[in-house]
Symmetry: C2
Subunit: 229 residues, 2 copies
């Protein structure tokens, strides 16, 4: 029987690189994306293109209700911070933090994995260029894995569920280099938190800044098109 | 400042008793329910009535997409098991198990608690009459709490998030007795997995059987109306 993996996919650089890694490791891919009231819904069409490019076994997009809970510049009508220095980006938890987002995403991945009879979940978090989000740290991923194995039928039957975070110790530049070595086409990806109506990246939000710095340090041309160059 | 608690509310006996406990402990109540494609949606109107009776600060009902993930008799067009013996009910994981359901519910509760600046979450799981669900055991609740404190801004700032499961060591009869001592009106609650169109309980699913046994053992008349007596 072939082994499957549920991969959380935002349509961005990190999760797209993770798809390539999981595919290289021989997994058949079940990609999972969320429509969660994010203002950058365009990432979902990027996620669709990426899923197609990787010829995934299935791509599931779930509608979830994070907007009703509120608390983030990504889901509310609050200004997305712009032009922050890379020091500031690394320094604290920004307003774009969505409360418990990765926990909610991983919980759904866990549910889907259980239904599919799959034991591996992949997530593209990195603790290096991690924009100050607490749910991107290795100790968090480990704690989620422990909980997942107690939460589920799969866990009870003593099959180990693994939360794989293969980028966790990589910088954005290292991620991009690794992806390019595996032939990832980053022109399909989208990173900006505050894109224009026609899908151009702002170039100034934290996500754009981290992406641009990553490509620059990797010495690779960023295929994204930016409003602010 | 008054202390608040997010309480997961299904409109059933257990979570309604938990509301009473949290209220008695002086919390202001934020009740959280889910429309998750369950065939027994009528529980949501019970949850509304219960929330009103407790005069909660806010009752949030989130629409979530568990049906698309599938895997349970509660969300799919699969027969709900009936007339199982209490031994069978205690014995294994039934088809009404919804993969990772409590994990998903608690994750949303965590997100909402963070937004509300609240550190306490209450859930009405019991490991005694627990119908064989793995995510009702104390070790699961503890693991979720550990993870929650690593996942969140609140955790990072060293305020302890607590997952309170005050019923975890109580039988259904003990829960009902406790609730009645606190004046809980169980006529507002709904437990059946497979109710009739006009809201009558089937009397034969696992949830009905556990409820009926609980009231019987507690020596209290069950106010629910059953098709099958």
């Amino acid at each position: 029987m072939d082994k499957g993996a549920v991969v959380l996919c935002s349509g961005g650089v990190d999760s797209t690189t993770v798809l390539a890694i999981a595919q290289e490791q021989g997994y058949s891919l079940y990609s999972l994306s969320f429509c969660y009231g994010q203002r950058h819904k365009i990432e979902l069409s990027a996620a669709r293109k990426v899923a197609q490019a990787f010829n995934v076994a299935r791509h599931l997009i779930l509608d979830i209700d994070l907007g009703k809970i509120g608390g983030s510049a990504l889901t509310e009508n609050v200004e997305v911070p712009k032009d922050r220095s890379l020091n500031d980006i690394a320094g604290g938890i920004p307003t774009t933090y969505v409360p418990a987002r990765n926990t909610i995403f991983l919980s759904y991945a866990l549910a889907w994995a259980e239904v599919l009879n799959i034991y591996d979940i992949f997530i593209g978090v990195t603790a290096v260029d991690y924009s100050g989000y607490p749910d991107c740290r290795p100790e968090y991923i480990e704690a989620f894995e422990t909980m997942a194995n107690l939460a589920t039928k799969t866990g009870v039957e003593r099959r180990m569920i693994r939360i794989n975070a293969p980028l966790i110790h990589l910088s954005k530049a290292q991620i991009i280099k690794k992806g390019r070595q595996m032939g990832v086409d980053y022109s399909l990806t989208h990173s900006c938190y505050d894109p224009t109506m026609d899908g151009k990246a702002c170039g100034r939000c934290d996500s754009c800044k981290l992406r641009r710095k990553g490509f620059q340090e990797a010495g690779i041309v960023d295929p994204a098109s930016y409003v602010y160059v």
